[in-house]
Symmetry: C2
Subunit: 346 residues, 2 copies
């Protein structure tokens, strides 16, 4: 069989071609690899050559193509960051911390949002792994088996953040939601509340919020104070929704004397609702939230809440991932702890 040499990949017809390392090499009269070395700041390059190359690169407006570089080196500076939501709530602050640390280390976060959907989480992670990230940071420890097998396949470091009540795949950063819930239960009991209620949202999708509530109820029961009633909204947690949930709960069970909210947004809504309804806080009803957002400090009645270190959680998650380059992180758990802010609402 004769095969005529046919130059399969000719230059695209109309399309302009991206400036490449080779263009820079030609212009500066050196070899490709020398340009590569200069661009990467590799050692063993004379100042003169470096200067000539730099000048040529600037003149051409050359930007290295990381696609090619990463393909060759089998490594990238990408980090897959997978969170359930970003519209509001705690994740933007965690992301902020993650981004700050990663960027400083020259890494590039790639964001994936699951909408609290396990199937989407698998899809999102698959799409990100296709870019051969050097690591993964994800929220929560409750994942589809497919997530675990994909991670195992790739053999890259993974850090899970939020919750440390359950074992992470490799390493975890966060707080113990169970312990926080127990602390709140004890606080309520100690303060003499006897008919506590609970309000949550998102249909308790992130398992950790369900676990937190269950721990809350268990501890209350141990202290001889059964949970009087609860109201779980299927919708996202908002201030407005928190007001509505509170109204519903108190209409159904008016003798409730304190409410533990799964988050501060709902708690603030509840606080405002009670004020409008003419209830005195905390005399008629005690209110305690979760997360300790800044706004709760500025309200006329300072909101009591469990303060969680969200930004710090992102920082530590990113640091832990970075440390994987030095030493294996398997088994590392970072407990950042929480603090109960005793405001005026409980």
């Amino acid at each position: 069989m004769t095969r005529i040499k046919t130059s399969p990949d000719g230059p695209p017809p109309g399309k302009i071609r991206r400036t490449t390392l080779r263009d820079v090499a030609r212009l500066s009269g050196v070899s490709d690899i020398s340009v590569s070395r200069v661009m990467r700041g590799a050692p063993s390059v004379s100042p003169g050559l470096r200067e000539r190359v730099m000048a040529a690169a600037d003149a051409l407006g050359y930007t290295p193509n990381r696609l090619a570089g990463a393909l060759k080196t089998q490594s990238s500076n990408l980090v897959a960051v997978v969170v359930p939501s970003i519209g509001n709530g705690v994740f933007p602050e965690v992301l902020d911390g993650i981004e700050t640390v990663l960027t400083k280390a020259g890494l590039q976060p790639v964001l994936g949002i699951t909408q609290y959907d396990r199937a989407r989480e698998v899809q999102v992670l698959r799409d990100m792994l296709a870019w051969t990230p050097m690591g993964v940071i994800m929220a929560g420890t409750d994942h589809d088996p497919a997530v675990r097998s994909m991670i195992a396949q790739q053999d890259i470091p993974v850090v899970e953040f939020m919750d440390i009540d359950h074992a992470p795949m490799q390493a975890g950063v966060g707080i113990s939601n169970r312990r926080a819930a127990i602390a709140v239960a004890d606080l309520l009991a100690d303060r003499g509340y006897r008919r506590p209620g609970y309000i949550g949202a998102w249909g308790e999708q992130p398992d950790r919020s369900r676990a937190r509530r269950e721990a809350f109820e268990e501890r209350l029961a141990e202290r001889g104070i059964p949970l009087r009633d609860r109201e779980i909204s299927p919708k996202p947690a908002t201030v407005e929704g928190g007001g509505r949930s509170t109204e519903r709960l108190l209409t159904r069970t008016p003798d409730i004397d304190a409410i533990f909210y799964a988050n501060d947004d709902q708690a603030l809504g509840g606080l405002f609702h009670c004020q409008r309804a003419g209830l005195r806080i905390p005399q008629d009803i005690g209110i305690i939230g979760f997360n300790g957002i800044g706004m709760g400090l500025a309200t006329p009645v300072v909101l009591s809440s469990v303060e969680t270190p969200r930004y710090q959680m992102g920082v530590e998650a990113a640091r832990l991932l970075l440390s994987a380059e030095q030493a294996p992180i398997r088994g590392r758990i970072v407990d950042l702890g929480f603090r109960i802010r005793q405001g005026e609402s409980l």
Copy 2:
């Protein structure tokens, strides 16, 4: 010169090798390209072959390497998304909209955060362009010249969101901050306020907030009501900070009868501060914010504010970018408009 064939890139010693398309091809007994076609869902593949390939791919847990694919096709499904901050404020909601639309279209947002720093914006964009994204979405229209030249060099679609008072590089989505400011000035004048103040944050870093304030002052002047005083915090906008700024402003200039805030966070802080200080709202002092966050609706005194379509802005920005595949977007401006929420605070 004799050159011995030396297999330069042999298999890495200890390191495990990623499963490749070729592995799948070998296992299923077909050619590389056939596997490629199956994985991409390309046409002209018989059902039998497809099935055999899929089985082999599943068996090996194969994930395509997009690095290689994108390098070959000179295109990726990545979209660079550049915003000034993410910790709180308006951007998470915009990002949510962007992410929803892009993901649905099979695109992958890559996040870059500039911390309101023009130099960082250049750096961040450069890093992202190195991955040959198919498009860019960025906040604001006020960029370093280097940003413009990098974009021009790459010849990819760019959508700028937030503000449409200034011409975007290619296409823009947002509202007119100037018109919004003018509407607020008119509202104040019409309501009989005569000694208005203004409170901003971030040192007015995003130029659009300065432009907004200037438009506000100009219109007030036109209506014969000079701005009485203003207070610009250099720090990020927070509820707590808004309270402090308000206190400072009112201490310095106690006869102010209304305050326009650059954002709702500060406005809520101001509202709470005034309540604590025993001022009646809106009789003693009128308060109006900017952005129309949900929380303002739930406060005991409903916050008046300029409602901006943040989620929608993200959605439209992403859609506009997607539409660039069909028709050029140069010159396209999408004005999403705003609505003044007349609450109880003004």
